[in-house]
Amino acid sequence: MAHHVVPQKTYVMVFLSLLVLTALTTGVAFIDLGPFNTVAALAIAFCKMSLVVYFFMHLRQSKGLVRIVALAGFFWFALLMGLTLNDYHTRNWTPTPQPWSVTAPPTHP
């Protein structure tokens, strides 16, 4: 019945890292990186989430089952997002669903 008590220092360190990452993500947003702004924002958010899940939500001490449950959540979310967006991504791959395609090939670039 020994519950693992995490030292207070760990929590505070995690908290400070989260604050730094928040400042970082806000700062990066003011630099124009083109599409990489989104990538950076999501990457930082993902890091922050991992810190919260791993330390605050005690996934570090959790049993395998809880980890599987958490992973399943993300897997299914990815499934929903991936297969839905794939439709929009591939909709214009073929000229076929685009009606009224011209019969003559383009004569000049």
Binding site: P97, Q98, P99, W100, V102
Partner: protein
Amino acid sequence: MHGLPFQLAQASTIARSVDQLYYFIMVVTLFFTALIFLTIFYFMIKYRRRSPDERPKAIEGNIPLEIFWTAVPTLIVAVIFVWSSTLYFRNSEPPKGSMEVFVTGKQWMWKIEHSGGQREINALHVPLGRPVKLTMTSEDVIHDFYVPAFRVKKDVLPGRYTSLWFTATKVGTYHLFCGQYCGAFHAGMIGSVIVLKPDDYERWLAGGTQGESMEAAGEKLFQSNGCVTCHLADGSGVGPSLLGVYGHSVKLNGGTSVTADDAYVRESILNPRAKIVAGYTPVMPTFQGQLTEAQIGDLIAYVRSLGNAQPKPKPKEEGKQ
């Protein structure tokens, strides 16, 4: 058409190929249904309980058998998948040079416009043996253009074009149904597809209520809505010239480019600021709500007719391409 109609006419080139697949799956279905039913009946009789304290021996399972009856369905569905997907891809590609027809669905009727300007409601006259391609859109909710005798069906969506095509192979009158629930009189949104012999069709084209062609109607709209004041033919206007644009690649602000198909032309009419041609400014107002779907169709037909014209020399070089 009377009595028990267990057969549906095969009236298009697609119908025959779809039916072959259909019959194949039917044979598979009947075989396995019969197999399961007969096996169960046989076991039910053979192994019926003969005394109340009968205790049969345990049978754990049989791995080779499990593999066998996993592999067999896998093979069968693989065959069906390959067959049906090939067919589907083939059937989704309209042949070059198809006759173009413009279809608008609205609660609860089908409005059909031929490129020659003939308009019909809840009826579609097509010639025998010639591929016909429908470009379809809806003015309100989702409808679905369904001709069972041709085995073709496609949803008709608002705000977007979908298309289907067929080549009729049998003279006759066939049902046209709305296949996607669309409100109170969904069941009344039906019509006929009338397949005529080519010369009958020509006669029908000539004798029908002759309107102006879609191109001509579109040209009039192009004038009356003031499009012509900006989209000058020589490219010196506020907007780009539309000569030689349709069907070609257009460079956009921001470096991307897009092929000018009717989805693009349609978007440019309704949401002109979505994609700006390189070198131009987003000043065009939207025509959302000011044009009916049929009018947009006319305009697209007009722009399409300009597609093969040689563009006149333009002062703005970057506006070209």
